[in-house]
Amino acid sequence: MHPILAYRGRLGPYLAAWVPLAGLLAGLLRIGGLTWLQATVLAAPLAVVYAFMCLAAWYPCQSAPLRGASFAKVAVTQLAAAGLSAMLWLFLADTWLVFLEQFPAFAGAGERFPRLVAVLLAVGVVLYVLAAALHYLLIGFGEARQAEKSALELEVLAREAELRALRAQVDPHFLFNSLNAISSLIGTDPVAARTMCLELGEFLRESLRLGGAVTIPVAEELRLAERYLAIERVRFGQRLTVEREVDEGAGPCGVPALVLQPLVENAVRHGIAHLVDGGVVRIAARCSGGRLRLTVENPICAGPTTRGAGIGLDNVRKRLAALYGSDASLDARVAGGAFRVELTVPASGPPVG
């Protein structure tokens, strides 16, 4: 896209800038021996014509871009273009002068022309080079703006992906049920209702924040799970009990962000929620031999129930594979009336990400 013609509002200032240039040209011609009248009548149309000719500097700018082409190429291309433009302009000036000579006011002007040739050529080259510089400037400006825009777009895309991940992560029914519980507590226990609002807000904020990181300390992941369980405990009451066993050394170990959360949600949604009398969700984090082991265990309903834990587990498995390759594992099994998921990753120091 032409940096001047393609933008509304750029051609006007560009042409306006040529008005003083036309004056300058007339002045030079006056010094060259023409009368003010002769100089003005000669210079004005020449300036207008050259203003438009210089817009063609875009083509050489394209064929020799500042970024990509060597300095020599840029210099040769632009100087050649400058010379050609100036000569063509000179020819037009000569033609114009020959035409004007038929008027009495221009009698004898042609004789002075040979002395003006050098001046006009020099002015033509300089003006062209200025125009080329302006084109380069505007092109560079446009590119910078474009780069900024695409960087912004990339960021928006990344943020969208994160939100999508969060949407997949936070079960909407969890939100609906929580809101319903809050609605209920407002009537019976306003203080508890407020507490639950705060818990829910914190949980969502934390999910968003942690979702943006690659790896986070286990301690943070556990804190998020704790918040989630606190909210669910309001709904499930006595039916939901939580037992935690965390090695002292495990806390600072890094794990992929939001990898424990879906496992804990599954334990409630597919375990506790299906049991009339509820049960205990056991969460453990152990660190030994350079390995970090996270386990989530929940009792399950004895009879057949429809289970949908597969997708959540699949997601976790994929993320582990992407981050650690074969160095991480996820084992899920049913044993002794309980569903147990064990996740093993290399125990790293304080995580980066």
């Binding site: 319903n180 209920s184 309903c301």
Partner: protein, 253 residues
């Protein structure tokens, strides 16, 4: 007629496994002097028992519950009871209306929305839900999917029978007898209706009065010229008619 029904007290049962959800309904309902809460249940089993004992006109029923789902619970309730589903899940709405629910409340909901549901329920009360519960249960499942368990009721007692454990089903007058591991449970339903809800990949009607779980068959013996006996893994013998044998052969091909 309208004014006559409005002055009548509406007997309501609340069924939801979450305490806050029940107390919310209780709170909302307390604003209606003509509504009487006759039972509050935390699951489907309690609901079946409570409906038997208190005979509510309307039941406010959650869908996702431990033990029995709302739909399974409904299957076990007498069809005079009007039902309003109260759930956080909007994906069951179509199924809910197929089982002739009066209304479908999405959590969280407003008192006005509940009032609207109660108004609809009053108009419906006295008229039984269309169709028999079992047919409704069949309609309540997405096409191409089969239940993995069956529910039956004997008085206030509820039996849940995993379909995998089912050996065979025998027709007995207006009932079907569900046999699993030597245990028998009667359910008020016709064999044809039940057959429609069972996965044809596993269950074959081998006789006018018998549906057989093909995974439980040990062998088939010739019994008379035109009839055979299927011997199950536990030794039980089930008659197989000529047409049934053809169906079985077709299935095992």
């Amino acid at each position: 007629m309208e004014s006559g029904t409005v002055s009548e007290r509406l007997r309501v049962a609340i069924v939801d496994d979450e305490t806050p959800a029940r107390s919310l309904l209780r709170e909302y309902l307390s604003a209606f002097p003509d509504v009487e809460i006759v039972a509050e249940c935390a699951n489907g089993f309690e609901a079946v028992k409570a409906v038997e004992e208190t005979a509510p006109a309307l039941i406010l029923l959650d869908i996702q519950m431990p033990g029995l789902s709302g739909f399974e619970t409904l299957e076990l309730l007498p069809c005079e009871v009007a039902v309003v589903f109260v759930t956080a899940y909007d994906e069951y709405a179509v199924r809910a209306f197929e089982v002739h629910a009066v209304d479908y409340l999405l959590k969280p909901f407003s008192p006005e929305r509940l009032e609207q549901a109660l108004r609809r329920a009053r108009q419906r009360i006295g008229r039984p839900r269309g169709g028999e519960p079992e047919k409704l249960a069949a309609a309540a499942r997405p096409p191409g999917t089969w239940p993995d368990r069956l529910v039956a009721r004997e008085g206030g007692r509820v039996h849940v029978i995993p379909v995998d454990a089912l050996d065979f089903v025998e027709a007995r007058d207006d009932y079907v007898c569900l046999r699993s591991g030597g245990r028998e449970v009667l359910k008020q339903q016709t064999l044809t209706e039940l057959a429609a809800t069972l996965d044809p990949a596993r269950f074959v009607r081998v006789h006018r009065s018998f549906i057989l779980n093909v995974t439980k068959i040990a062998r088939v013996e010739r019994y008379a010229k035109d009839s055979r006996l299927a011997v199950l893994l536990d030794g039980t013998k089930v008659p197989v008619s000529r047409a049934g044998y053809a169906a079985l052969r077709e299935h095992l091909k």
